[in-house]
């Protein structure tokens, strides 16, 4: 294929790599050249995302005279990210297998209704049974939908589009169109409280320790397999940059009232999701299923079971997201969670996930969620009319997918 536009040039390996020995220093991973630098394309994607995020932060902060990044708003922004972020982690897994779940917005509303009614005056359930009920309902619903997709061969788009309509109907019926308040103080705390500042600092210390340990381990592994040593500079950067981000983040949070509990939940979910996708056979199989279902099946992977399981995980995370959402708002309303599925999908796509399956990371999806939340938050601060907000978000989504397609074609 010829390069007709001035897109970044991708290094191609020699076609006759069979005969010609690969010269030392030639990487066969996909790379993009910028000036005299060569960067692996995947990394470039992540950096582009980070760069875009920083750019809009700087812009919003400038346009709002520093309100955007002041401790109070920053804390709010992070809390806003939590619900979309938790859903995006589950959505990422679904999309990586080449499927989609459109029902989770309605499902979040439905679960919130169930939880609100369970803890309400008529039933008076305690905190633990209420939370358990929320997550179990999420799993049960998604399990049924997943079974229809995986075993009855109904396209996920159709099954979950049906779910989107049906569960919204259930919420309306269940709440009789009214808003049900949350009275359990412990429940509300999940959405509205913070961990204290010393605890936050302790967590930061723990995180920095983990970052150092992981880098040293990777460094040793590279040596062991003769993959070339990481330079000391690289190693230092690999430790210092993330550690700096963690510390700055916690200090910023502590400048207000500490880390919001929803943010802690998101971090736990994201770390768990990233571990599942990168470090387990389960995650590896999901990527294989999305990348080439035939090859996955012939390699002995039970494609149906995995697709079903991934919907179940999505359901459980919808339960978690619904708890945060309901607790933050302090009540369950009939239109709660409306359009949340689209935010989650948009977060994944902006974070570099391919809707065709097989590609995407939890980290990217979380960044995407933060990006979407930043747009919402910033535009609201600037009093952008709601109609313009929709248009801008739509345009950004289409642009992100357009860039993804360009990247695919070149690969």
């Amino acid at each position: 294929m010829s390069h007709q536009t001035n897109e970044p040039v991708i290094d191609r390996p020699p076609v006759n790599a069979d005969v010609a020995p690969v010269p030392a220093g030639v990487e066969l991973t996909r790379q993009t050249r910028i000036g005299s630098f060569k960067i692996p394309t995947d990394a470039l994607r992540a950096y582009t995302m980070l760069f875009a995020l920083v750019a809009i932060w700087v812009y919003f902060n400038f346009a709002t005279d520093g309100i955007f990044l002041d401790p109070r708003n920053f804390s709010n922004l992070m809390r806003q990210t939590a619900v979309t972020g938790v859903l995006a982690v589950g959505m990422l897994m679904v999309i990586v297998t080449g499927n989609i779940d459109l029902s989770i917005g309605s499902l979040v509303g439905f679960i919130g209704g169930v939880a609100a009614i369970a803890q309400g005056t008529a039933n008076g359930w305690g905190l633990v049974p209420t939370l358990a009920a929320a997550i179990i309902v999420g799993i049960a619903v998604a399990e049924a939908q997943g079974a229809l997709v995986a075993y009855a061969n109904i396209p996920a788009f159709i099954v979950t589009l049906g779910g989107l309509l049906a569960w919204r109907g259930v919420v309306l019926g269940m709440t009789k169109g009214e808003t049900i308040p949350i009275s359990l103080p412990g429940f509300k705390a999940i959405g509205q409280q913070f961990v204290t500042r010393p605890v936050g600092l302790g967590l930061a210390l723990l995180a920095v320790g983990a970052i150092v340990w992981m880098n040293v381990r990777r460094h040793r592994a590279r040596e062991r397999y003769g993959l070339g040593k990481m330079s000391v500079l690289n190693l230092a950067l690999g430790i210092v940059l993330p550690a700096l981000v963690v510390v700055l983040f916690v200090l910023r949070m502590n400048a207000y009232e500490g880390i919001p509990i929803p943010v802690i939940i998101l971090i736990v979910v994201a770390l768990g999701g990233a571990f599942l996708m990168q470090n387990t056979t389960f995650g590896r199989y999901l990527y294989a299923i999305g990348g080439n279902p035939d090859a996955a099946r012939l390699s002995g992977i039970n494609v149906r079971t995995h697709i079903w399981a991934v919907f179940c995980i999505m359901g459980a995370l919808a339960g978690v997201a619904s708890i945060i959402y309901t607790a933050r708002v302090g009540s369950a309303s009939p239109d709660a969670g409306n359009l949340l599925e689209l935010d989650a999908i948009a977060a994944c796509v902006i974070g570099g996930t391919s809707l065709m399956g097989g590609r995407g990371t939890v980290f990217g999806a979380c960044l995407g969620a933060l990006f979407m939340a930043s747009l919402d938050n910033g535009m609201s601060l600037l009093n952008v009319q709601p109609y313009s907000q929709y248009i801008i978000k739509g345009a950004i989504l289409v642009t992100a997918v357009g860039l993804d397609m360009l990247g695919r074609k070149q690969g």
Binding site: R12, P13, V15, N16, A17, D18, V19, P21, V22, V26, E27, L28, T29, R30, A221, R224, Y225, G226, L227, N279, T280, T281, F282, R284, Y285, Y287, A288, G291, N292, D294, A295, A296, R297, L298, S299, G300, I301, N302, G358, R359, G411
Partner: protein
């Protein structure tokens, strides 16, 4: 228009192809092919898989447009340079490919006139005219079909005849038929032959007939041209040829010394398949494999020869628990009957399967070499749930060295590798499951000679180490050069079995074209 009096100019060729050459990256698919066709003649084109028959027809049909090929061809003594399928159709050339190109959801009439619908102004379709013309065409072919029937309701044989009706509606004067009887029942074959003979006699339509079934070729054709390795071996009157001569011309190739001489010390029977019958998932009741059984010993390479559509891949897929349709049969491993209902079961019992078409069935091209290599054996290599990247990378590195995969590291993206290296990655994937029985389906298709030799050496090494190997290949020299024993399939049945000593290309090809022979 065509004259019905064909005797006067029967000698002057209607079509003449001179010095046709087609080069794909790294492969010379056609090398100076000559071919001609007279009016009303049925000229058969035969050759092994990959001899270049389909490529030649794609040039004639405008699929490979001018100037992507060398040489020239003439229709009625005029040079033709088709730049698209449309050009070819306009010149009266219609190619009916093996994979039918009808739109299943549309009616017969809509399909016949697709893209050429009779219209009024503003592109409004004249449905009455369309269907009445379609009815006339079907009547001409003596087909008792309603043109308003959706194509999906027709059998494959009837669909084939609709394709012919479509060609006639374009006033085709040259019809190319690529394996037209591959999916037909005996009765449908007779109908088709009747129609073809009719068209030749009454309309003077010339036909190029590609088939592996030599009995059909001898029954129908006026002349036969044999292609081998992209060259014309010869053209002669059918009456002057015997099947044996044609077979000899198809295979007449020296088995080079690129095959290491196998001296496999064979042990006890490792694997046995009994009474395998496999049905076409799309055509109920059609048997792709009919009661086939075989056994392989430890350290033995069993070659399965046969032409395209003989049921070789379907047999292996069914044994491996991966066939989409109905399949029956028993599998015994070391004399023990085992149940295999999915590839996971097969892997658990020690079967490995290097499938054909690595890009479709073998690899996740977007992912790294390492992820592909460990896909089937991941749980075994690195723990049931949590993966140990260290152990995995170590296994990957070892495989990479053993199989000499040329890439900078195991973290290179598989899609960037050459075909030969990709094939080695697929082989590595299966070796990492620690198999006792290894199926290889077309393991060297589309890779260069150097990589082929390396794969051959690996196959021998694996057999020596005690694996039982089943090798399916369309390249006869490859099957004969590597196997200790050769089984020949034709139309889903075993038509011959040979030991290494008495397997000759001629005998195997005879069985592969439908002549039963047992010569163990």
């Amino acid at each position: 228009m065509t004259t019905t009096d064909i005797s006067s100019d029967a000698a002057a060729p209607f079509l003449e192809m001179r010095g046709i050459t087609k080069i794909f990256p790294g492969v010379r698919a056609l090398d100076g092919v000559t071919f001609d066709l007279r009016r009303g003649e049925l000229h058969a084109l035969v050759g092994e898989n990959g001899a270049g028959k389909s490529t030649l027809m794609k040039i004639l049909g405008g699929v490979y447009p001018y100037p992507e090929y060398g040489g020239e061809f003439f229709i009625e003594s005029t040079v033709r340079r088709f730049e698209s399928v449309r050009d070819a159709e306009a010149a009266g050339v219609a190619v009916i490919f093996q994979e039918l190109s009808l739109v299943q959801e549309m009616t017969i009439g809509e399909n016949i006139f697709l893209g050429r619908e009779p219209r009024r102004r503003f592109g409004i379709i004249r449905w009455d005219e369309l269907y009445s013309r379609a009815r006339q065409l079907l009547a001409d072919l003596r087909l008792p079909l309603d043109p308003r029937t959706p194509v999906k309701n027709l059998g494959i044989g009837q669909q084939q005849l609709v394709e012919i009706a479509k060609a006639l509606s374009q006033e085709a004067r040259l019809l190319v038929l690529d394996e037209p009887t591959a999916a037909l029942t005996d009765a449908e074959v007779e109908t088709l032959f009747g129609i073809l003979n009719d068209l030749r006699r009454t309309r003077g339509v010339g036909m190029i007939y590609i088939s592996h079934k030599l009995d059909e070729v001898f029954r129908l054709s006026d002349r036969i041209t044999v292609l081998r390795d992209g060259r014309t071996v010869g053209t002669e009157q059918t009456s002057a040829l015997s099947e044996a001569t044609v077979i000899a011309r198809m295979v007449g190739r020296e088995v080079g010394d690129i095959f290491p001489v196998p001296d496999h010390a064979q042990g006890e029977v490792m694997f046995e398949a009994r009474g395998f019958t496999v049905e076409d998932p799309n055509v109920a009741g059609k048997r792709l494999v009919d009661n086939v059984g075989f056994a392989v010993r430890r350290g033995e390479v069993l070659g399965i020869a046969g032409l395209m559509g003989a049921g070789r891949s379907e047999l292996l897929m069914a044994i491996f628990g991966a066939h989409a349709g109905r399949a029956d049969g028993d599998v015994l491993i070391e004399g023990q009957r085992v149940r295999i209902e999915s590839p996971a079961d097969a892997i658990k019992h020690g079967l490995g399967f290097v499938t054909e078409d690595r890009k479709r069935y073998g690899l996740v091209l977007d992912q790294t070499i390492l992820n592909n290599m460990t896909l089937a054996g991941l749980a075994r290599i690195s723990g049931r749930f949590i993966t140990n990247l260290d152990a995995e990378a170590a296994a990957g590195n070892r495989s990479m060295k053993e199989l000499r995969v040329k890439a900078n590291s195991v973290f290179a993206v598989t899609g960037t590798l050459s075909g030969g290296n990709q094939q080695k990655v697929v082989l590595a994937k299966w070796l990492l499951t620690n198999p006792r029985v290894l199926f290889l389906d077309e393991p060297t298709r589309g890779i260069d000679v150097g990589a082929k030799q390396e794969i051959y050496a690996q196959i021998n090494k694996l057999a020596k180490s005690g694996l039982a190997i089943v090798l399916v290949s369309s390249e006869l020299p490859e099957v004969l050069g590597l196997s200790d024993r050769v089984l020949v399939l034709y139309e889903g049945r075993v038509t011959g079995e040979f030991t290494r000593h008495n397997a000759t290309p001629e005998k195997v090809m005879a069985c592969a074209t439908g002549h039963t022979q047992h010569a163990v």
